[in-house]
């Protein structure tokens, strides 16, 4: 019996030995696989990104998976609130912040640039939230379209915001907003940088005009007296007048009325309803407030261009003046989106100058600056990866 036991033990041993052999073989196999050279991770190009950080809207463009332009567009505003459960401070930005926290939402770039530390900090949080939520890559070449405003502190603040944004690790560049916005208007590539022309940026916080000679900025002109925001304020006032004091709208509503209804070609009166204090509602019709405000604005734009900017340009750069006026004047910015504004600008400027001029605008003037910036960034990627 003992022998039988020994035999069993031997069998068990053999079995164990066989199992051990199998385990050794498996381990050897794994080691071989570990030794096989791994394929190196593919080097990826930095992503080209165009950014327009506007006083009212921020627009970011970058290529999607198919190489087409992906657009991110949001209001340049932020609101903070306390989480009801954790007590932690949370951040909302863009349309959501403006809608849900209308009472305390902050537009950080009201003048075009972050004027102080507080607005700079808010703008930094804004851009970081935007980058994180949209998973914008840090390995990117970013071109910023920036308004030409003489404000050293604002520019220093903006510089810090850009450095902390989380994008643009490879390279960052900035160019005038009016130049970037003109790029999509002049051609399908970067033809604007090889041409001589005049650009007029009709923004919410300033009016810019500039001549460009093969990319060189000539006589940049800026005024804060003719702005899209002023149009909104005028609409508020004129609606109150038109409704005999019965209707008081806020600036956001005024802007919405302007964006939805203003039309230099074919304005149609529209009606709306407001709730009355003490109950009840009041229906009213707007027939002239919107276009009165817009027409006053356009008259002011033409006046500034014809009587402030162009004379200075002609005085110092006559050849550029002549050459540029032989080309269409490029209109960009949010106010250039209003239907019929290009033809209306052209007609009024012709009358003011008593000479023929042409005007043009990109297909989407509100997005053009970011699109133009993105094209420059794309070219920088090509150069960087050559």
């Amino acid at each position: 019996m003992a022998d039988d036991d020994s035999t069993d033990e031997d069998t068990e041993t053999e079995t164990e030995g066989a199992t051990d052999e199998e385990e050794e073989e498996e381990e050897e196999e794994e080691e071989k696989q570990d030794e096989e050279p791994e394929s190196e991770p593919e080097e990826t190009e930095p992503v080209p990104i165009g950014v327009k950080l506007g006083s009212t809207r921020t627009v970011i463009t970058l290529p999607d998976e198919d190489g087409d332009d992906q657009l991110i567009r949001t209001l340049t505003c932020i609101a903070t609130y306390e989480d009801a459960i954790t007590g932690e401070e949370k951040v909302l930005y863009g349309e959501e912040a403006a809608t849900e926290y209308a009472d305390r939402v902050q537009f950080m770039l009201r003048s075009g640039l972050p004027e102080n530390e507080d607005s700079a900090e808010l703008a930094t949080r804004f851009i970081q939230e935007l980058v994180e939520e949209n998973a914008l890559p840090s390995d990117s070449i970013v071109v910023y379209a920036i308004p030409t405003i003489d404000n050293e502190e604002g520019l220093n603040n903006l510089n810090r915001i850009i450095e902390q944004s989380g994008i643009g690790d490879t390279l960052v560049r900035s160019y005038p907003e009016s130049l970037c916005g003109s790029i999509p208007a002049v051609g399908d590539d970067l033809e604007a940088i090889e041409d001589t022309f005049i650009a007029v940026n009709m923004g919410s916080t300033n009016l810019e005009a500039c001549a460009y000679r093969r990319g060189e900025q000539i006589m940049p002109f800026t005024t804060g007296g003719v702005t899209g925001n002023e149009v909104d304020r005028q609409i508020v006032q004129k609606v109150e007048e038109e409704t005999q004091g019965r209707v008081n709208i806020d600036l956001t509503t005024a802007r919405e009325y302007k964006e939805e209804h203003a039309d230099f070609d074919d304005f149609e009166p529209f009606s709306d309803v407001v709730q009355q204090p003490g109950g009840g509602s009041h229906e009213f019709t707007i027939e002239r407030s919107i276009m009165d405000a817009c027409n006053d604005y356009l008259d002011d734009v033409v006046d500034e261009v014809a009587n402030s900017f162009l004379p200075e340009l002609a005085n110092d750069y006559m050849k550029v003046y002549q050459r540029a006026l032989a080309e269409p004047i490029v209109l960009t910015g949010g106010m250039a989106c209003l239907p019929g504004v290009v033809d209306a600008f052209e007609t009024r400027l012709i009358e003011e100058l008593q000479r023929e001029i042409d005007a043009t605008a990109p297909d989407r003037p509100d997005l053009a600056a970011a699109v133009g910036a993105r094209r420059i960034a794309g070219r920088l990627v090509d150069i960087e990866t050559d």
Binding site: R173, E177, T196, G215
Partner: protein, 155 residues
């Protein structure tokens, strides 16, 4: 790195635009030389230009190696030659094709990139003539080469 939009690097920006692949050189080509009856005047002109080129090549070492024109002359006469040359190209072919021609001359090393940039700066200050500009043909480019040789002799 400055974020001030008034202080961007203009040369870098122009290089970025110049680097685009298709336009400028890809679209550029010599026009066909139309043989017209009784072209003896053109033959004489071509012959004169060829002789002038030969003379300048013999007199100017810089024409032995490319790029031929490495800088524009500082002299008054040199500037007059530049303007005369550009006015001719402009009147023949308009602003856009003249700019393309200058890019092309740089790409084939008749002139350097710096000279190309300077010529385009001069060009941007000139007026395009009204009318329908045509393409530059072989003889126009030979004439450009003569102007380049003249400018080389003044540097």
């Amino acid at each position: 790195m400055t974020i001030n939009p008034r202080e961007y690097d203009l040369d870098e920006l122009r290089e970025i635009a110049h680097e685009r692949g298709e336009r400028g050189n890809g679209d550029f080509r010599f026009g066909r030389v139309e043989k017209s009856p009784g072209s003896s005047a053109e033959d004489v002109l071509r012959s004169t230009q060829s002789r002038e080129l030969l003379m300048l090549e013999n007199a100017t070492e810089e024409l032995d190696t490319k790029p031929y024109l490495r800088q524009l002359p500082d002299s008054y006469i040199g500037e007059l030659i530049v303007f005369e040359w550009l006015e001719y190209l402009l009147s023949k072919s308009g602003f856009s094709r003249t700019s393309d021609a200058i890019n092309y001359y740089a790409s084939i090393d008749w002139i350097t990139e710096d000279v190309s940039r300077e010529l385009r700066d001069y060009l941007s200050g000139l007026d395009e003539r009204a009318g329908d500009p045509g393409r530059l043909d072989l003889e126009d480019h030979i004439l450009s080469l003569v102007y380049i040789a003249r400018l080389v002799s003044f540097t």
